[in-house]
């Protein structure tokens, strides 16, 4: 075992070795290790390269806030992900990892040339150059910038893993399973409330996991933890680990991402990789603790320089010494304890360098006992070492002046600039922050949600106050739930209280302009970049952030925001609150797209609606098209047929004999009640009063703006009962619109609406032999009183039916509605009955062609939301006598009655070629660009029945241009077309009278 791993120490399983690879080299590790702790145990500090300067970097933290140690991880095909934090990724059998943003290799990276030229890459440098010559931007400069940036590589294969989602409703959600969160849970659990406690780490315990020496209620920290968690389980508290609260939304809606399998050697079959919990909690306790701040000085980014708290965690949780002779550089008491723990574990502490001249006596004693050299009132002014720190340069501070520097050899430098509360989730709620001058940090202030903030998350330090605060938060939450619970007190011994001071850049005796004192490690933002931004007029922290990219790295500013603010404020000579803090955005830590997508992938991405006849069509090898939420049979190709051939055959067969069509997707609304006819008169443009029961009529629906919204044939089954049909896509919209008017404008009307779209399966029969096919199957119908545009209830093939006689093809036509469960039976019965007549199933494309031959419009194709009834040539559908209907008033607006509106007409090309749908129409084809366009082709088909193509178009003043020739300029030449009526086939309508 490597000398850096201490046998038996920490929470890793020393009896369970696991090996993994990093950049192709295999390393030993232990169950419970992270990649970072395992690499450190092997003496490896160099784990990555920075974003801009490609500087060598090691882990600076031991948690999810890590800016440097980002790696690619993979477990076989499709399971690679970039930018994974080595400090979070747990070891698992066969884990393959690689470093990023380097070439050819981590230890020698050509990109590091940027580091040599770093003076050029100052803040905002790219705004100031790369402009000449102009053409170089696309070709040279931008590709260079892009390839230099970007950290890891994107996955390139589809991801075989599953993702899940779950709603969770609870009384109390506690975010953060450290001392404060556990204390809050312990009191709340007794109140009988439903409590959920979540933590992003594999284990609950928070900082206690790194402070085993602390004693709580007379037990060692870890023993107390075990007992407390057992107590919580006993009370039915839901404990969730590896679960990150990523976002805090309106009214205590919190998103949690639970990582389920990334730590497992072999995940169980069908197990989702991650699950998004959508939690609604009556009360929330935020106990997320605090983040340690780096110190800002020249060379503070060298591998081996890390936060003191991280070193303490590696030692106590993972049994790893981060160095043999680490130095400690701090402005806060907490780092002293890290030094003591490491010294007790066998490391030789090179020195404790504290910027403060006054140090607590007990700390000095403890250092003296351990023979640790202490340098009070000192600053650090540089580090040395190429791929790993070898020494730190320290200077005494005497009354503001920096004394002579000296080198102190070390193989690690543990720094602490103090601690800042984790305010991210609180900020998501738009809760306000207050600047605390004593601790030089922001604390949560005014709350907008029903939540409590406890512990280090609101600036407390030391376990005794934090536990007490957790109890208080738990009690407050319980009270807010109007429940009750007893208070508790947790006696703490060997506590580790602490305080400190905070700095901007540490004082130096060297030129600050030359110093590489990093604030945002990953984005290579230095203190001087921030000062330059201010010098260039960036006065708000938002401007400074965006100009320098400080805080925009994948740690979302967890390391850099406060230090960046302190330096910007100093440069502006303002108090930090006057400069403001950048807003923290969700997610708290980067969260996989898969977790957001959840089940919304592949066949469950969005619902697909299918008709009762869909299985038959599928068995016939129909080609389908998506129409709104539905899939509809598009055409039924015979072997060897393409779409064109199939559609031509279907059209001819229908006109020659009989075609059958699944119209089940049409929207259907039952309008019933004494005021049904009045309601219909108000909604639709048409007059309905005189429509006799048993008859039907084409109905046109406008928006209040006067433009066509929907249409369909509407049957009056009885005085008080209408069977309304809508377009497939319009069904829900129309019903909602009707309900809106009924409930809010005309609540006095005695009429009710019921969607029957799916109650009925609808089969359309069209063609000269439609009657012959249908008639033998019909019972209970008086055919003598069943002319075109009639409706009746009867039986068809022994099934209860609503039979419509109507036509969307110009042929004799019927629509048979039967209860949906019988839809397939009806279809097959009609197919059988039709055999002698070579009945032909057809799809939506043929339906479109047949209707176009008759000039029937399709709402949404021949209209586009800007077309009035007059434009569409549907004035006849308007009940002129009616005082009002939805949209009527808009039809008399100036620009609606003005001439030159685009009107629907037919078009026939002179060369007999087919026009393209969407092709634009001009009067003068020889005019220069931009051309004056007078309209466009809305529908265009080859008409097998007519033997030539037909088209419909909207053209300015089209109704007065009958017979005129217009021009359609296409890329390959101008087409001439003559304006005609929209009725191409059987204009006299004789075939309907058959």
């Amino acid at each position: 075992m490597s000398r850096y791993r201490i046998a038996g120490r920490g929470r890793v399983d020393h009896g369970a070795p696991i090996s993994f690879t990093f950049d192709g080299k295999t390393y030993p590790g232990l169950r419970g290790d992270t990649v970072a702790s395992a690499l450190l145990a092997n003496g490896v500090h160099l784990m990555g390269r920075s974003f801009k300067y490609h500087r060598p970097r090691g882990a600076v933290t031991a948690g999810s806030e890590e800016p440097n140690a980002l790696i690619g991880t993979s477990r076989g095909p499709g399971r690679f992900e970039p930018n994974t934090r080595a400090t979070v990724q747990e070891l698992r059998k066969g884990l393959v990892t690689e470093s990023q943003n380097k070439w050819p290799r981590l230890s020698f990276d050509i990109g590091a040339i940027n580091d040599r030229a770093y003076m050029l890459f100052s803040a905002g440098f790219y705004y100031k150059t790369f402009m000449w010559p102009k053409s170089f931007w696309d070709k040279v400069y931008e590709p260079f910038i892009r390839s230099a940036a970007g950290l890891g590589k994107s996955p390139t294969e589809a991801d075989p893993d599953r993702y899940a989602a779950r709603y969770l409703h609870t009384d109390l959600l506690i975010v953060g399973g450290g001392a404060a969160g556990i204390a809050a849970a312990l009191v709340a659990a007794k109140s009988g409330a439903r409590v959920v406690l979540v933590d992003e780490n594999p284990e609950l315990g928070g900082a206690l996991l790194s402070d085993p020496g602390v004693t709580v209620e007379g037990q060692p920290a870890w023993a107390w933890l075990d007992a407390s968690l057992a107590e919580l389980r006993a009370h039915g508290v839901r404990l969730m680990t590896r679960t990150t609260a990523i976002g805090y939304y309106h009214q205590n809606f919190v998103g949690l991402c639970e990582r389920l399998t990334d730590h497992l050697d072999t995940p169980p079959a069908n197990a989702p990789r991650e699950r998004m919990w959508r939690v609604r909690a009556d009360q929330v306790v935020l106990a997320q603790g605090a983040l340690e701040k780096p110190l800002v000085f020249d060379g503070n980014d060298r591998p081996g320089v890390m936060l003191a708290g991280a070193a303490q965690t590696y030692l106590n949780r993972y049994g790893v010494r981060v160095g043999d002779n680490p130095a400690v550089l701090t402005s806060h008491d907490s780092a002293w304890y890290a030094a003591f723990d490491l010294a007790d574990a066998g490391s030789r502490i090179a020195a404790i360098i504290d910027t403060r001249s006054e140090i607590r006596a007990d700390l000095l004693d403890a250092a003296r006992q351990r023979g640790i050299r202490v340098l009070q009132g000192h600053t650090a002014t540089g580090t040395k070492g190429r791929l790993r720190i070898a020494s730190v340069r320290v200077n005494p501070l005497r009354g503001g002046t920096v004394g002579a520097g000296r080198e102190i050899a070390c193989d690690a430098l543990l720094m602490s600039g103090g601690w800042t509360p984790s305010l991210h989730l609180f900020s998501h709620t738009k809760g306000s922050l207050a600047w605390d001058a004593d601790s030089n940090t922001f604390l949560p202030d005014r709350k907008t949600e029903a939540c409590q903030i406890a512990g280090a998350g609101r600036g407390l330090w030391g376990y005794a106050p934090v536990l007490a605060d957790g109890v208080a938060a738990g009690l407050a939450a319980v009270a807010a739930l109007s429940r009750s619970a007893g208070a508790r007190q947790f006696a703490v011994a060997n506590d580790r209280p602490g305080s400190g001071v905070s700095h901007t850049e540490l004082p130096t005796d060297r030129s600050p302009g030359k110093a590489k004192a990093f604030v945002d490690f990953q984005n290579d933002v230095t203190a001087k970049d921030l000062r330059l931004a201010v010098r260039e007029g960036m006065r708000s922290i938002e401007h400074v952030k965006r100009y320098t990219t400080n805080g925009m790295a994948t740690d979302q500013g967890k390391m850099s925001n406060i230090n960046g603010l302190m330096i910007a404020a100093d440069a502006l000579a303002k108090a930090p609150p006057q400069v403001g803090l950048t807003t923290f955005r969700p997610p708290y830590t980067p969260t996989s797209f898969g977790a957001f997508a959840g089940y919304l992938r592949g066949q469950t991405f969005q619902l697909t609606r299918k008709t009762p006849i869909d299985p038959w069509a599928e068995a016939q090898g129909a080609v389908f098209e998506p129409v709104a939420q539905w899939r509809r049979a598009w055409y039924f190709p015979k072997p060897g047929e393409d779409m064109h051939a199939a559609v031509a055959r279907e059209c001819l067969a229908t006109r020659a004999s009989v075609g059958i069509f699944d119209a089940s997707t049409l929207g259907k609304i039952e309008v019933a009640g004494p005021d049904a006819v009045e309601f219909m008169n108000r909604m639709y443009t048409n007059p309905w009063t005189k429509l006799a029961p048993g008859r039907c009529r084409y109905g046109l629906l406008l928006g209040e703006d006067g433009f066509i919204r929907d249409d369909g044939v509407i049957g009056r089954l009885a005085n008080d009962l209408f069977h309304v049909t809508t377009t497939t896509g319009g069904a829900a919209r129309v019903l909602n619109m009707m309900e809106d008017y009924l409930q809010t404008e005309w609540p006095d009307l005695n009429v009710w609406l019921t969607s029957t779209t799916e109650q009925w399966a609808t089969v359309a029969l069209n063609g000269p032999n439609a009657l012959a096919v249908l008639k033998p199957l019909v019972e209970g119908l008086d055919w003598d009183d069943f002319p075109h545009m009639s409706v009746a209830e009867c039986t068809v093939a022994g099934l209860p039916a609503r039979l419509f006689r109507l036509s969307f093809t110009g042929e004799v036509g019927f629509e048979v509605n039967v209860p949906a469960r019988h839809g397939l039976a009806l279809w097959t019965a009609l197919m059988d009955a039709g055999k002698p007549h070579d009945i032909c199933p057809y799809g939506t494309e043929t339906m479109h062609v047949l209707r176009a031959e008759k000039g029937y419009i399709i709402v949404g194709q021949d209209t586009d939301g800007t077309v009035t009834p007059q434009d569409a040539g549907l004035d006849w559908a308007i009940g002129k006598a009616k005082p009002d209907f939805v949209g009527k008033r808009s039809l008399s607006r100036p620009d609606i009655v003005a001439g030159g509106r685009k009107q629907l007409v037919g078009l026939l090309t002179e060369d007999g070629s087919r026009l393209e749908e969407g092709a634009q129409i001009v009067l003068d084809p020889n005019q220069p660009l931009p051309m004056k366009m007078v309209g466009h082709v809305t529908s265009s088909y080859d008409s097998a029945s007519l033997g030539h193509p037909i088209a419909m178009a909207v053209i300015e003043g089209g109704h007065d241009r009958m017979g005129e020739v217009v021009h359609v300029p296409m890329p390959d030449g101008v087409k001439r077309a003559r304006i005609t009526s929209t009725v191409f086939y059987d204009p006299s309508g004789d075939r309907l009278k058959a």
Partner: protein, 99 residues
């Protein structure tokens, strides 16, 4: 995701059951033909777009299917109250003083 109190179901339920339906208390004129083009435009298009308490309509589309009215603060997105369609526009002034 908002929490919305349905005045008909008398339950407070997730936004996903509801559909927003625009500004409230814009009644359709009894006789549109009597309106000038400007008056008709105001009805069709002009909206308060209030920054603060906003009178608006929602429909409990995946529930009781009823349209109802609400007052919501568009700065905080928090609902101040919901009430049934047809109920008079509530007077908020005391509430605003309290704020």
């Amino acid at each position: 995701m908002l929490l919305i109190h349905c005045p008909y179901c008398e339950e407070t339920l997730p936004e996903l059951e509801f559909a927003y339906a625009g500004e409230a208390h814009i009644a359709r004129p009894a006789d549109p033909s009597a309106l000038s083009d400007e008056e008709w435009r105001d009805f069709l298009f002009i909206r308060t777009n209030a920054r603060g308490p906003h009178f608006e309509r929602w429909r409990h589309i995946h529930g009781c299917a009823q349209f109802f009215n609400a007052v919501r603060d568009t700065v905080s997105d928090r609902f101040l109250m919901t009430y049934k369609a047809g109920a008079p526009r509530p007077d908020l002034s005391p509430k605003e003083d309290a704020e």
